[in-house]
């Protein structure tokens, strides 16, 4: 293996991930200055590949079988929320089988001596009053001080993102907020105002049943054709239809799409794009709902939900097969699994299954799924993400607007970084930056393969090359840099997917297998995963003849 080959890969990666300008600046340095320590992390590939390749797992010995009421497959937000709902309704006869050694899925967090930090989801907007279940969860977690007369929660201030919440690095300096207002023309501002006005119009919009055009969870949104029309075009097309050409507005919208969906504005459904802006406004003219965050990001909610599930949560157990018995509807379902610690196959006889793993796994894990339901997981497209936690011995020097929670780099394909110590009020000394990069490529498979093949040193260099732009001295400050490759990170709401039959039918149960994950909404959000978790739990409770506390009608 020649040095030249290594260098080329790294340079190529930088070029691919960050765009060519970075290539020019680093092209001549052959040996990058790498952090002293770090690890390459990712979803368990080996098990994933075996599942993909239809590997035949050995059957469990007879004494390795257990009877259980409900098996929940997957301990992400959806699975843990389903468990929370079951337990609240007195159903304690369940297990959560989670492939990874740690729960949380794409909302998991890590921890070092100094602070916890997110590996994926990192914030939750304060729910609007209609999202009563989520408000109840937050109340239990001790985040709610009181309820306003309209039912909206008063969140204790330490859970609301501390000011300054965001800044953007543009033209060599940091400015407050996200919109690159420095040097914007009157026309830029006029277009921004017109855009906001249009968002306000959608915020005010109600159908004849009184439903909002855009609501989160999206189950509460209207199905009026005028609104669903938006799913036919891309967000960028929608902007052009309104003759909004301001590059600053386009950047803002594009950034928002990449941040929430891992897609560019050209790739995002206008329905999903407008939802991002309109569903988080309480009323027209209101500010975007404030954000809640923790040093561990949404990992804090995972911690809480996992503590509620207690020993019923079984990490390190990969579900390998689910066999419904079609002949006898009263017979139990067989759930086959593999204990990754003891490397032993185990089995469960269950009355119901809540499938809370990503949807693309359904046909691979559920025996006879495609034939029985006529459904396919192919239309479910997933983007990959690269996330890094960069440990610093102290903070970089600042000259313009000070370090904020979210720090966005304008001229980069990355999303910038959030600061883990921000919310704890720790403003001095060492810290951890969580850096995010969605791979927006159209060819998801090629991008995923490229990501999974890359070496730690190359990815670490990509991260540092990007951070060097606003912080030239960053390499000197890094004590550790861990990189997480999310192969299947996020469902992609490309035009047409939200309104497609594949998506709308996917939440229908397959016999006594109920589905719960954020993919079913076509967008990856905590609220969606949570909502599906509760709905699936309620379906199970009905099926098992115990009454759920508040039934969510299933559409």
């Amino acid at each position: 293996m020649g040095i030249a080959e290594v260098t080329l890969t790294r340079r190529e990666l930088i070029a691919i991930l960050l765009g060519s300008p970075a290539l020019l600046t680093t092209g001549c340095s052959t040996v990058p200055h790498l952090p002293p320590a770090g690890e390459l992390l990712g979803q368990s590939l080996e098990i994933g590949h075996r599942l993909r390749d239809g590997f035949r797992w050995p059957s469990p010995d007879t004494d390795q079988w257990q009877d259980v009421g409900v098996v929940i497959v997957g301990g992400g937000v959806a699975g843990l929320s389903a468990a929370w709902r079951l337990k609240q309704n007195g159903c304690e006869d369940f297990v959560i089988l989670e492939l990874e050694s740690q729960p949380g899925g794409t909302s998991r967090s890590g921890r070092c001596e100094l602070t916890p930090y997110p590996w994926g989801a990192h914030y939750l907007p304060v729910p609007l009053p209609h999202n009563r279940d989520l408000i109840r969860l937050l109340e239990e977690m001790g985040c709610v001080e009181s309820l306003n007369p309209d039912g909206s929660p008063v969140i204790a201030e330490q859970f609301l993102c501390r000011d300054p919440d965001e800044r953007v690095f543009v033209n060599g300096q940091w400015i407050e907020g996200l919109y690159p207002s420095l040097g914007a023309s009157n026309d830029d501002f006029a277009q921004l105002a017109a855009f906001r006005q249009e968002i306000d119009r959608w915020t005010a919009w109600r159908d004849t049943a009184g439903r909002r055009a855009f609501s989160i969870p999206i189950r509460h949104s209207t199905d009026d054709a005028e609104v669903l029309e938006l799913d036919k075009l891309s967000m960028a097309e929608w902007l052009r239809q309104h003759e909004w050409t301001s590059p600053r507005l386009h950047w803002l919208v594009d950034y928002s799409c990449r941040d929430d969906y891992g897609l560019t504005a050209e790739q995002t459904s206008a329905w999903a794009g407008v939802l991002y802006f309109a569903a988080r406004l309480k009323e027209p003219g209101a500010d975007h709902q404030p954000l809640m965050t923790w040093p561990h990001g949404n990992g804090r909610i995972i911690e809480y939900l996992a503590s509620q599930a207690d020993t019923r949560l079984k990490p390190g157990i990969a579900v390998t097969r689910i066999n419904p018995s079609h002949e006898n509807p009263n017979a139990t379902l067989e759930v086959l699994a593999f204990d990754t610690a003891s490397e032993q196959p185990i089995g469960f006889h269950a009355k119901s299954v809540i499938f809370a793993a990503p949807q693309f796994l359904a046909p691979r894990l559920i025996d006879g799924f495609a034939e029985r339901t006529g459904r396919s997981a192919d239309p479910f497209e997933y983007g990959s993400w690269l996330v890094a936690n960069v440990h610093l011995r102290h903070r970089p020097r600042e000259s313009s607007f000070p370090l904020s929670w979210d720090n966005v780099i304008h001229d980069s394909r990355s999303l910038g970084y959030v600061v883990a110590t921000h919310q704890s009020g720790d403003d001095h000394g060492p810290t951890v930056l969580t850096w995010y990069h969605p791979l927006c490529d159209d060819d998801v498979k090629a991008a995923r393969q490229q990501l999974l093949k890359a070496k730690w040193s190359d990815l670490a260099d990509v991260v540092l090359t990007d951070l060097e732009h606003p912080h030239p001295e960053i390499r000197e400050l890094v004590t550790r840099l861990d990189v997480f490759r999310w192969g299947h990170a996020m469902i992609r709401p490309r035009p047409g997917f939200i309104t497609s039959r594949h998506r709308r039918d996917a939440a229908q149960p397959d016999g006594r297998i109920h589905f719960a994950n954020t993919d079913l909404s076509g967008i990856a959000l905590f609220e969606e995963a949570f909502d599906h978790g509760l709905r699936a739990a309620d379906e199970v409770l009905v099926a098992q003849n115990s009454r759920p506390s508040s039934l969510i009608p299933c559409r």
């Binding site: 921890r111 100094l114 602070t115 916890p116 109340e139 239990e140 977690m141 001790g142 985040c143 001080e145 204790a156 201030e157 330490q158 859970f159 609301l160 993102c161 501390r162 000011d163 300054p164 919440d165 404030p290 923790w294 040093p295 561990h296 804090r300 911690e303 809480y304 503590s307 509620q308 102290h394 000070p402 919310q423 704890s424 009020g425 720790d426 403003d427 001095h428 000394g429």
Partner: protein, 542 residues
Amino acid sequence: MKSADSMNRAPLFLLYLNVLIIASCGLVYELLAGTLASYLLGDSVTQFSLVIGVYLSALGAGAWISRFVDQRLARCFIEVELAVALVGGLSAPVLFLAFSSVGAFRVVLYGIVFAIGALVGLELPLLMRLLKEHLDFEDLVSRVLAFDYLGALFASLLFPMFCVPRLGLVRTSLLCGLLNAAVGLWGTYLLRPLLSSRGLSGLRGRACLVIGLLIVGIIKADSLTTLAEERVLGEPVVHAESTPYQRIVLTQNARGFQLHLNGHLQFNSVDEHRYHEALVHPALSSVKSPRRVLVLGGGDGLAVREILRYPSVESITLVDLDPGMTSLADRFPPLAELSRSSLKERRVTIINEDAFLWVGRVARPESSKGVETDHSHALPEGSGRATQRDDATLFDSAIIDFPDPGTFSVGKLYSTRFYRMLRERLTGDAVISVQCTSPLVAPQSYWCIVKTLEAVGFRVRPYHAAVPSFGEWGFVLASPRPLPETLSLSSELRGPSRFLTDKILNSLFDLPLDLARVEAEVNRLNNQVLVHYYDQEWGSLK
């Protein structure tokens, strides 16, 4: 010697001018180094005598070295001149920059002083030997020495009267370097008959390069932040240091000394007693026999000095972010004297930590409903009441002396969240006081702090005091319990006060019309309105 003969009297006179310039610049460098050393290291007497000593001995060393030069005298003279231009010219900027790495600073300082001294010491003998062909010995010595001393006089007048006030240290140094380099370049023409043409253009090129470099330096000089410091503070600096948290500078004038943190005046020894008596006594005299007192900020020890006047006080806990601040008195004896070494008292415990994290950690509230997880890494969660705790861990009073809320990392120390956490650390009868910037200059900032305290349930009484160095200054007295209408200084208070009497104490609570309450929002962590108010109100003064 034919070439030497061709030098007539006019250039000879010009050579004397050279002596004048060389001598003036040499002295200016020495003065610069001395000023800078006392500026940055403090203790001007020691610094100046050390710099002068090193400089004079280096002059001697240079003169001694000159005897080893016996060929190409003129060329050597010019080379030395250019070297003086470079080393001397860049001395002030280099010293300023070197100061940020304190450890090596003295080495750099005396190295530069010695180098300049040695080079200047080398120059004069060389020049005298160049001229000796044309003058008899007595004449030569008397004229050169006369011009040398004349130059010294010239420099010592120019330096304090023009250079420092008008140009600042960095520019002075660069300009002198420029003069030296110009002399060097000029010498290549003046001494042309004594120079071989080989390498002449190279010599001139080097001279031009040095000139160019120094001109760039002059253009860039403004960007040196330390230069700004010198201009802004206006007074001679007697001690300065950069800690990881802030820049600490002490200045001194005939009447007293002043502490500046990041360029903001913290106190002036002339009238700090007004500030600290007003900060401490209204709160402590309102508590019956205070035993445990918390001080937040106030690392100068002056508030603690006042608190120690209460014999009932058994323990004082002082939380200040910067160890450089709480140990400043060790390095600057006048502060130890002013604070009566209060921080060394047995009753005082010093904690160097961000007060927000410290208060949050010890005020871990009972989590009434939520699960108890490991909080040690996170913001204390939950909004429940304080746990039943041992009364001994609660404070009878807190004196809050943070810097003004000019940045977000300080603004959080004036938030509802902070005051809530603080309240958990206080007894039910505790009385606290908060310094809160000038209500005259920044009324919205002032009333924002008052309103924030009210928002978490404190009863408040706003008050003010005139502190000439600051102007009209604002404070708030606050307590979980209603505060009395009239206050009196505690009968236990020991030692004489210099500002407060019972009558004055009560008059502080009479707010004049121009300090009347204005509308302001509550300062919360997630809006930090206070920082924005403060920025607007103080910013508009700049």
